[in-house]
Amino acid sequence: MGEALAGFWDTYQSTVGYVGLNALLALSVYTSLSCGQLALGSSGFAALGAYAAALLTVQAHWPFPLVLLVALILPAAVAVPLGLPALRLHGVFLAIATIAFGEVVRIGLVNWDYVHGAQGIVAIPQEASVWMIWLALLLALLLLSRLRGSRWGFALEAVREDEPAARTLGIATTRYKLAMLVAGAALAGLAGALEAHFTFMVAPSGFTFGRVVEMLVFAVVGGTQRAWGPVLGAAFLTVLPEALREVAPRVGLEPGPLRLMVNGLVLLAVILFLPAGLASLPQRLRERRAAGRGA
């Protein structure tokens, strides 16, 4: 039994690591979604954290905890001057502005010779273990979930539901939106740094528009009502393709396209039929059953 577990772990530990990383990234988008803001700058923030961390480790040989601290703080600091003008925008306009930010960061990195442009930085020592990733994730989850029921948490929900009404109740909405953007930036930066030290490399190609869209998909599929929704979404959509990798040849399809297709179909199904995400499934089933009985 012990041997089977050890074998399982050997094969799948990297997947577990990726689930953790994707969950952190999904949470970085969730923080803004929780107050109704579609801010998609996480790929840019993750890139900042990842590259800063990689440089500090490889060039300056800083101790890892300090590196992680910088990866948290740098993107958070950048998020402030970015957020102040950007958060005046709503809906798709905010999304586009933040996407533009992410692209500017990525293109800047592609063109920066010091970090080897498109090739990126390689041979980063593996300082981040699966345990570390999940510890970070659990801490983030703890912090975010403790917001519920607090003055802060209620303010966030109010901003999400109806921002002008929230303002008439004395809630300084810009402050809360900015705080959540900064928190998301910190999480993304942390995830980027951890990923760099887990996969031994960073490259601009890991921080595309497609990547942040993926994070959004994790959050939406999992559900954005509670902090553990995005984690569930990330787990589901990271594990599913791995499972499908086995299935693909039997169905006569390439694994790559099959994974994309399943992602798309799951997302479509969720947005059409289960808009509050997979996390809301138990509640929905309970309501169905209650309605069936009561009707």
Binding site: I96, A97, P164, G256, P257, G264, L267, L268
Partner: protein, 295 residues
């Protein structure tokens, strides 16, 4: 001057693509993120028509446009219509269209693989130096002329459609207020379906022309154009058709000039930084009609 011609040439394709984007946004207040995927699939469709059925390109283009238009109607039916009753239909529609775009991309990947395809030699009549157009010291190739010509014709057709026909009036009415239009007896569902058909047909045309212009068709060709199209319609003003056209040409010119004077890699960064600035300073864009729809 050559740069100007090249810029206008590129810009005509961007303008065509952006027109489709802005048409749907003007009517439904929704960003159709599957527009780029339709763009890509139409290009493949034209390729198939030319290589398998040996149709001349002049016939393949309208057929590909038809195919794209139909795809657009399917998209509307599956991804947008079910969401119309919901309050959050804008963001949900965004995500829904993203899901369908993913599926479309997956299909293309499965059928054609990730590699770049090309139109077979002889699709377009060969360049004949004796018959090229010379204008103020610049050379306009047949290819460029054809593509610009088609683009201009389509833009004019669309303008005529919107200004002079009954359908055009109904589209404008629905864009103004779906509720009022319905009261006035307009079949709103039909108008929306028609808008999607037209929008996607234009996007499809842009796709075919793009594929011809660069002689390169691949499942991810929509990626870069997608973001640029977004930039164009924002700068031009979302919902504004003349804005989309002008901004499309402007982007084409800017890109060519930036490449010529600053070097290729920063081209996109300039567009995105500019996009961010416009969003923050003048979200209405140059000619924007859409307000930011605050609560």
């Amino acid at each position: 001057m050559q740069q100007v011609i090249n810029g206008l040439f590129l810009g005509s394709i961007y303008a065509l693509f952006a027109l489709g984007y802005t048409l749907v946004f003007g009517v439904l207040d929704i960003l159709n993120l599957a527009h780029a995927a339709v763009f890509m699939l139409a290009s493949f469709a034209a390729l198939v028509l030319v290589t398998r059925l040996h149709l001349p390109i002049l016939l393949a283009l309208p057929l590909a446009m038809l195919f794209a238009g139909l795809l657009g109607m399917v998209l509307e039916r599956v991804a947008f219509r079910p969401l119309r009753a919901r309050g959050d239909s804008n963001v949900a529609g965004l995500i829904s269209s993203l899901a369908v775009a993913t599926v479309f991309e997956a299909v293309a990947l499965e059928v054609w693989g990730p590699n770049v395809e090309r139109f077979p030699f002889g699709t377009l009549p060969a360049e004949d130096p004796a018959h090229q157009l010379h204008l103020l010291g610049a050379v306009i190739s047949r290819l460029q002329l054809t593509i610009m010509g088609v683009a201009v014709v389509l833009v004019l057709l669309l303008t005529y459609l919107v200004r002079r026909t009954r359908l055009g009036r109904e589209v404008r009415a629905v864009a103004e207020s779906p509720r009022a239009a319905r009261v006035l007896g307009v079949d709103v569902d039909r108008v929306i379906a028609a808008s999607f058909f037209i929008s996607s047909a234009l996007g499809g045309a842009a796709g075919v022309l793009y594929g011809l212009a660069f002689n390169s068709i691949s499942p991810d060709m929509g990626r870069s154009v997608e973001l640029k199209g977004l930039a164009v319609i924002i700068v031009g003003g979302m919902g504004s058709m003349p804005g989309a056209v002008i901004a499309g040409f402007a982007l084409g010119l800017t890109e060519v000039l930036v490449v010529a004077h600053l070097g290729g890699s920063y081209r996109d960064a300039v567009s995105f930084a500019g996009l961010f600035l416009i969003l923050v300073l003048r979200p209405r864009g140059l000619l924007g009609a859409a307000s930011l729809r605050e609560a």
